[in-house]
């Protein structure tokens, strides 16, 4: 880390930079991450597990800093801790309300340990920054291979459990009554989410991960309530954010994570504003509208025993 002030101005030679081999890695890695994010993002929102996704990223922090400490690849530490954390969150929280407390507690503990491991290791401060904010430009060919394998695992798994997962996500009680293995699916999904998070952390980092997994999916759901269409749109937003973000970072010498996150959030904001205009009868307004009430000639029962 240098203290030298970098120039954030327009870079004349951005095109050669963008077309250089290491940028190709960054674009390929970012695209794989965007595809992975698109696969899980819709479910994260439908299952109300946005906070868990956020927490999983933080749980990866001690894994990454701990990996430096014991001398294994950062990605391995990240993966082990994310998947482990996913299982813990899955086991601890039965109901959504419990899950929030359990998740937050695990999150705080993990971040603390991340800091502790980092203080033990002498030269891991760049790891810390990389995990917190991501470093798409540091993605290696080996990592790309791992990413590609994880993406295939993710896609095949989501495809295999798609319908029961959607069923249990939309209404777990009804699914359970139909003998769907709700709890097993919940664990499977948390592990898949952990895999996506492990990848995404390396692209945009722990702190900005929300913007790549949750925000594009939320944007897509505003545009369409159809699951597959929402997943496709969400993936497209993520990919565009990554590509344009990387290009802008090359053009203006900005951190790629910053540019990617700003674009994803910008798209969300734009869609949100347009949606307000197009659907003035918003959900809230519709709900507040009184329902038509029929004649009151029926006997009004005594409800005092409620």
């Amino acid at each position: 880390m240098t203290t030298q002030v970098m120039a954030f101005g327009y870079q004349e030679n951005w095109w050669p930079i963008l077309t250089s081999p290491f940028m190709a890695n960054a674009l390929a890695g970012g695209t794989i991450v965007a595809l992975a994010a698109g696969l899980v993002g819709y479910f994260v929102i439908v299952r109300n597990t946005a906070f868990a996704a956020h927490a999983l990223a933080h749980i990866g922090l001690p894994g990454a800093t701990g990996a430096v400490l014991v001398g294994v690849p950062v990605a391995v530490g990240l993966g082990v801790f994310c998947v482990g954390g996913a299982l813990v969150i899955g086991v601890l929280g039965k109901r959504a309300s419990d899950r929030e407390i359990a998740t937050g507690t695990v999150l705080a503990l993990a971040t603390g340990f991340g800091l502790f491991f980092n203080s033990l290791a002498t030269k891991s401060s760049s790891t810390m920054t990389n995990v917190l904010f991501g470093n798409l430009l540091a993605i290696s060919r080996d990592q790309l291979t791992t990413f590609a394998v994880l993406l295939v695992v993710l896609a095949v798994s989501i495809g295999a459990v798609y319908r029961p997962l959607l069923f249990s996500s939309v209404n777990s009680q009804v699914a359970e009554a139909k003998s769907v293995r709700v709890r097993l699916l919940s664990m499977i999904f948390m592990v898949l989410l952990a895999l996506a998070v492990t990848m995404a952390v390396q692209a945009v980092g722990t702190l900005l991960l929300f913007a790549l997994i949750v925000t594009p999916a939320a944007t897509a759901i505003m545009l369409t309530p159809r699951p597959l269409a929402a997943m496709a749109i969400s993936t497209a937003i993520s990919i565009v954010s990554v590509w344009v973000g990387v290009a802008i970072s090359a053009m203006f010498n900005l951190p790629p994570s910053f540019a990617i996150v700003t674009i994803a959030c910008g798209v969300w904001l734009a869609v949100w504003i347009v949606e307000r205009q197009v659907r003035p009868m918003s959900t809230a307004a519709r709900r507040a509208e009184p329902e038509p009430v029929g004649d009151h000639t029926g006997i009004v029962g005594d409800h005092s025993h409620r």
Partner: protein
């Protein structure tokens, strides 16, 4: 349908005959939800045995439609009515697949049967409470169940919607021959259509015909407050607390 055996609150031995609309009543905490979970095979009986449609609980769940108390409260923004109902049909199948023409026709049929045929492409979150309850019933109905179980289907509805849902249940019962098990803390809106009731009293489960249940001493004991049963000149029954 045979449902005989000891239930977890202990000593409820009865058979519920197929074909009627049966209320499940009892004060808060008496175990109504446990009874449903037992029937669905989600919790085991500590002792005794239970048969649902002649099979152990859980085995016949494909023939049971379930309407929970809170339907799609959180995720309604992200799904359309028709897709939610489709899940009642293909949500238990693994993998990924385009719904067949036949499945889509069945979804339309179920939506029309509950009076929700006009808004298949709306988001669940855009619906009123009454509309959402209809969609929940359609989702339970689409798999053509023999038994329909509803947990407090009238609790959050206004009088008009309560009456319409009760009429709907009655129609499903008579026209499709579905046996309906309905948990309700307020019996009044249902009294006109019920055939019998399972009541949970003093830690035991009992089953009786409607005539046996709608009896002042029993209801007063059941609700822990003096209850008067009134028959209107039109022949309608209703009960009220005289406290």
């Amino acid at each position: 349908m045979v449902r005989g055996g000891k239930l977890i609150w202990s000593e409820g031995t009865f058979e519920v005959p197929a074909g009627g609309i049966i209320a499940v009543i009892g004060s808060n905490g008496s175990g109504k939800t446990s009874l449903l979970n037992l029937v669905l095979g989600l919790i085991p009986a500590a002792s005794g045995h239970v048969r649902v449609l002649g099979q152990p609980p859980g085995e016949a769940n494909a023939s049971i439609g379930y309407v929970p108390q809170n339907y799609a409260s959180a995720s309604g923004e992200a799904i359309r009515v028709c897709d939610a109902v489709m899940l009642g049909l293909n949500g238990t199948r693994w993998g990924f697949g385009r719904p067949s023409r036949e499945d889509r026709a069945r979804v339309d049929e179920a939506l029309n049967a509950v009076g929700a045929g006009a808004f298949p492409r709306r988001r669940l979150s855009e619906l009123s409470g009454g509309q959402r309850q209809r969609v929940a019933i359609a989702e339970a109905l689409v798999s053509r169940p023999k038994i329909l179980i509803l947990d407090e289907p009238l609790a959050a509805l206004d009088l008009r919607n309560q009456r319409e849902i009760v009429q709907l249940l009655n129609r499903l019962n008579t026209e499709l021959g579905v046996t309906i098990l309905v948990v309700a803390h307020d019996l009044n809106p249902l009294l006109g259509v019920l055939s019998s009731a399972i009541y949970l009293l003093d830690g035991h489960a009992h089953f009786d015909t409607l005539g046996g249940v709608v009896e002042e001493a029993l209801l007063s004991h059941l609700y822990g407050t003096p209850i008067q049963v009134v028959r209107t000149p039109q022949g309608e029954l209703y009960m009220r607390s005289t406290l």
